[in-house]
Amino acid sequence: MASAYIVVLISFAYVGLLFAIAFYADRRADHGRSLIANPYVYALSLGVYCTSWTFYGSVGRAASSGIGFLPIYFGPTLMALLWWYLLRKMVRVSKANGITSLADLVASRYGRSELLGGIVTVIAVIGIVPYISLQLKAVSNSFAIMLRYPEIAMPAKQADIPLLADNTFYIALLLAAFTILFGTRHLDASERHEGLVAAIAFESLVKLLAFIALGLFVTFSLYHGPGDLFARAAEFPGLERMLHVDGQNIDYTSWASLTFLSMFAILLLPRQFQMAVVENVDERHLNRAAWLLPLYLFAINLFVLPIAFAGMMAFPAGDMDADFFVLTLPMAEQQVWLTLFVFIGGLSAATGMVIVETIALSTMICNSLVMPLLLRLRPLNLQDRADLSGIVLFVRRAGIICVLLLGYAYFRLAGEAYALVSIGLISFAAVAQFAPAVLGGLYWRGATRTGAACGLTGGFAVWVYTLLLPSFARSGWLPLSFIEQGPAGIALLKPLALFGLTGLDDVTHCLFWSLLVNAGLFIGLSLLGSPSVAERIEAGRFVDGGHGGGANSSVEAWRTSATVGELIALTGRFLGVRRAREAFTAYAHGRGYKSNRELPVDTALLRHTETLLVGAIGAASARAVVASVAQEEPLGMHQVMNILDEASQTLAHSRELEQKSMDLERASAELRSANRRLQALDRLKDDFISTVTHELRTPLTSIRAFSEILHDHPDLESGERGKFLGIIVKETERLTRLINQVLDLARLESGNAEWHAAEIDLRDVMEDAAASVGQLFRERGVTLELALPPAVSPVFADRDRVLQVLLNLLSNAAKFCAAGTGRAVMTLSASAEALRIDVADNGPGIGADDQAIIFDKFRQVGDTLTQKPHGSGLGLSICRQIVGHLGGRLWVTSSVGHGATFSFTLPLARAEVESPVAATASPAPA
């Protein structure tokens, strides 16, 4: 048993080495020279995917199913191609939201739900327990095999050994201690462990090298290359069928479902999440790791088949567990150092998995399960304690021990009934339950907390029923009839053939039912319900997370391959190429570069680009547009909607502006025309005053002239004197009339005129007017005719004013008609609403140009300079004012040589009309 000490010694030495590496990496990290900040270490650390399952189990699987071990690695290879979208988004979202575990991710996504965090934790812990037990089984068996060296024999069944005599129990405790030392030495807010990652990467390297060393030894030392090995295997009885896929060893349905399953595993296993997301230093590492990890998987599996076939040929009796060919082969060949190396490789695979997995689980247990509960327990008053780190560390450590002990318990209960790979697959199926909630949560806004919680719970329940419980039954912990007859003999509920579904292997069967229930509940309940506000906010942050993490400054997380040229071109599209180039060149000079071509495309430059664009197209659009170039992701629907929103807002805004400017334009046009009117009025006033003074001066001049004559010549004869005095009186009357009219007009225009409204009969008024001007017409030899209807309705008006209008129009007619042949006709007609009076003459008529101005003050037809004015020029102006005031209108129709007709209307009196002033008719065009 001397070898036992060596094995134990070497194991501890190896663990010591791991600690040294971890310590060194931590020190380097403290000095800012991180050991793990490169894509190769990142990819190697992701190699934690390869556990004892790979190291020992793949060979065992290959020995029973040929290439049936491969789908477990094809899945990750394919999924790695989607990391570009999926994992990158998870990393961004997690970094932006400070997420440190899968439970955290799900809880945060659905409105920081503690319930969901708890559910995920429970599923993860229970689901991973078989996986942990797999590692325990592998380590303990490999120990047992090594300890019996050089004898080659399989260890005894563990179930028969009492607990305290069971090596596996101590191994579990040792691993727990090891993990505690590794993962919970101190607390870190980001839950990142630089040293741990370095150690895990190193372990990945060790297990890869160990396996390849063994593979090379087997293939090229035991046999003459792979051709020789496979040729001999083909001749070996019973091995021939392993070279094919034939439905007995593996069928294509299982093949596809295992590929599918492992795709989720590489993304959603807690330890993968821990390594790929939480421990990620730089998002760009993903790009390299996306093909380095598959390459790693490729390399570590390259020799699985040769080793499996060599093992089966070396131990044809079948008494050796194919899972441990990896150890027994070099032992049989007396290769001590190779055996030890392989053993260390296996130890690496197991410890790596256990350490990272339990750390990830204990983080979940602590942060998502225990601490929320403890904080709620009022008697503990934990909220008030300043420093909780002691409690947190204790919970973490207890969590690690619990997980390992659960793994050990499962190993004791069910571990013996399955090969390594089959145990691992149980865990894979459990982890797949996270897929709908996580992936749906990352890409579907409508996903709700209820949907996620019910989906997870339902899927997990189906998993327990169709995979976990049967594993207990197989190992005799439950009655075997549970599997064979169904619970209580109900055949439809047989856990491995639920509702009579047969023809699938256990895992595929479980995967189908559990994901059906899971995704069904998740999608169905999400569609039926609607997310709460908190969920919606989180949904936005998560679903848009890939585009930079929501509303906060997003450029932070951008990693880009965009070139300066692209950024300039992009900016140029909105700002103009010249301006864009100038802006970038100025920026380059500002940062000490010679030209913009030398600028590094970094966060600062992207932000600068964004800033340049914000001014042009608004913040949301700028971000989305820069993202479209920088992030190499297509614009999401949401971004497009944002842009549209913003654009339509801008559009509405500019439309409003346009409206306003149109209003302004209209107002200014009105002002302009008002101003023009004012100026015209001003001019008119000046004209008016000069005209009035001119008009006043004429009679005054003649009055003064005749008065002077009378004064200077007191000896004038009385006939002459009487004549002169008569002229003076006449001129004075004219002066008085003129002044009266001016005053009248001023009163009318200012609205101060007195009105004496009453119901009047226009026929009377017209007859009075005709009688008044009768003398005038007779003097001038003009005939006047009246055409009156027999009876008309009364109008409500000021009789004197109407009379004034009529007299004015009639005297005008008399003035302009030729003596002798002159003829004027005054007509009254009635319409439904108004009475109309026309005064027609057969005078010279009024030209079209003059028609527009004759109603203006002091405007008279004809040249006032050469012809003697026929009146003051105020009459028609006054008439129009009066008619307008009475609610009617006054206009003229005429053509030169055919006389003129002045017409005006007066509205009929209505009962409700109290004052004609109020019934002002709209001014009509003349």
């Binding site: 290879t77 790695a80 965009a562």
Partner: protein, 65 residues
């Protein structure tokens, strides 16, 4: 340099192609008694297709750097 969006598109194309290559029925075409340098055709194909996908992924992801 590859256009930003094409890297993602190429990877998705590669993913779909990989799903086809590494599954029934294409896989079954090579499931027969034949060997390349003494290695069964099925094994050669499985590892060959796998290696090809990894190489193409490396190519796609490196060209953009």
């Amino acid at each position: 340099m590859a256009k930003p969006s094409t890297t993602g598109a190429r990877l998705i194309g590669l993913f779909l192609g990989g799903c086809l290559l590494l599954n029934y029925p294409l896989l079954d075409l090579f499931n027969r008694d034949a060997s390349v340098f003494g290695i069964p055709l099925l094994f050669v194909y499985a590892f060959g297709a796998w290696g090809l996908i990894i190489a193409l992924a490396a190519l796609v992801l490196s060209r953009r750097e």
